[in-house]
Symmetry: C2
Subunit: 330 residues, 2 copies
């Protein structure tokens, strides 16, 4: 069964991602917060959905983005980057008043991060259903949903409508189930999460997110969680394990593993999103799980060797070179 | 007449300034805009009204600020700086949702500047009359008004109310008439500008602003413009002439000049605001025009030798040392 593609083929239309587009400014010294002047570098194009779609486009998949930026250099830099990497940017609006969202990030000595955000109070928060969004959804072949965004009302409304449209035309859905555990249990965000798990063809969990998606306790065991998800209609699960590599699990019991690559980390931001963008693109382009996992592992690993959240997103040729030159972790 | 103080004495209560408080991030390479990652340093406490009041407090004048910051490190850094320099920060509110305003600045090769702002769409734009603002206005002895802010409706409402309260208790008003010429002629902003010129005891113009304030053509001549302003009720004009120093003009015809200081400019931002903050504080502390001009020239000059818009604001001791060590331009 591993040669079966569970995602709509690339030819059906672009993979669509909806959400925040940010300019990221990275402090170049470690320490706590932003109370005193520190050296920084930026702006780097950023935002988890933008990183995902940039990698999907850069590796050669059809890709499109729905988002909102300000009428400023930070917005122009983001749009230019996505266009360069082959992403359809017709669904990105430019807000006439609000600035492009910003994220200042500084790494502490222990590896934790301090942020100063202007996210939903920036142009990123001023997203709605427009003719341009309608048009790109009408030709999309796949929707990738960020679990982090399920609590945001206006993005949810676009996401739900896009999911329904894309499913109706034979498209598929992937979900990065990254969300805070405390939001899972009850309330509107938890309900949306359950709805998207139910609609998803592919899940891309890391850590405990597998159990969160399966709505099982973390000691239930990985196989039990996978069985539960397949019962709910999920057709494929790509488990991100960091330095332990990644695994593709299919309903027929096939488990394909690919080892991680041995790299020196410069900036961990964006690794999971690059993994996802590459994996979805490769599977939609018809690659078997093992090859897709290898490209996805390489995309995540290569990206952390560059400062900036999507500076290391690789073309297929760049990733081929990376794979041939980089030692696997066993 | 030069020994007469035209401003309410320091003992009446603090000099109040109302307006934006920002975090400034400065690109450390020259060039155009922010389309690609560049090295930067920040956050620096900033915002013209904040720079003015910081220098006023740091030199030893009573000082207070009304403004709004976000609940983030950028806001905390600004409040800490103002508090350190003796400014009453009780009139600064912390917005629970909006971030602290930001200004990214990059110098072009020709000395012009490119900006990316989040100003009035940040916490800085969410200013209103509160019990805290009422309380600080009720004890203030002087109001300094930024001409740049006269077009901002909610800040104007606070400014007008504060000006009336402070005048009523024997306080005085200074105006930095910095505003775009095209706003002077007609409309609401021009009307507000004329009203503030009429209420002002002290003007602090640079360049053509003297003529803008006098509502005369720029070829009318400096003396004619001064006479007109004195007829309107202005009691003192401190003219900022950059490398040509500064001049205090009084209605009795006294003209006092003080030469500029010879410094190597690192970052010109904030020079005029430091001049103003020092001048107002010194005059309110009872200094004669010549001494106030000398401190004001020194404050502006010292500030441009530091990167960051208010990093070079000086204490009286720091400015005494600067004055003793620095060559005058003749």
């Amino acid at each position: 069964m591993t040669d079966q593609t569970n995602l709509a083929p690339d030819a059906l239309g672009p993979t669509l991602c909806i959400g925040e587009i940010l300019a990221e400014i990275v402090a170049t010294t470690t320490g706590e917060g932003f109370l005193d002047p520190v050296p920084m570098v930026g702006p780097y194009p950023s935002g988890a959905p933008a990183i995902f779609i940039d990698q999907a486009g850069r590796i050669g998949g059809s890709a499109a983005m729905v988002g909102s930026v300000g009428n400023d250099d930070f917005g122009r830099a983001n749009i230019a980057r996505l266009e360069r990497d082959g992403v359809d940017v017709s669904g990105i609006r430019t807000d006439p008043v609000l600035p492009t969202g910003t994220a200042f990030v500084r790494y502490r000595h222990d590896g934790a991060r301090d942020f100063v955000f202007n996210m939903w109070t920036s142009a990123a928060g001023a997203l709605g259903w427009t003719d341009q969004v309608q048009a790109v959804c009408a030709r999309a072949g796949h929707l990738h949903v960020m679990g982090t965004l399920l609590g945001h009302q206006s993005i949810w409304e676009i996401t739900e409508r896009a999911a329904t449209m894309i499913k109706a035309r034979g498209g598929t859905i992937s979900l990065d189930p990254n969300m805070r555990k405390e939001l899972r249990g009850d309330g509107e965000t938890g309900r949306r999460f359950a709805q998207m798990v139910g609609m998803a063809d592919l899940l891309l969990p890391s850590g405990d997110e597998l159990y969160l998606a399966a709505d099982l306790p973390v000691d239930a065991g990985e196989e039990a969680a996978l069985v539960r998800l397949f019962q709910l209609g999920v057709k494929e699960v790509a488990i991100k394990r960091g330095v332990q590599g990644s695994t593709c699990a299919l309903p027929d019991g096939t488990r394909t593993h690919a080892p991680a690559f041995d790299v020196t980390e410069i900036d961990p931001t964006g690794a999971g999103d690059c993994f996802g963008g590459a994996y979805v693109a490769c599977r939609r382009l018809g690659m078997l799980p093992e090859q897709a996992l290898t490209y996805a592992n390489a995309a995540g690993a290569r990206n952390v060797t560059f400062r900036g959240p999507m500076e290391g997103a690789g073309t297929r040729a760049e990733l081929d070179q990376f794979i041939s030159e980089t030692k696997r972790l066993t």
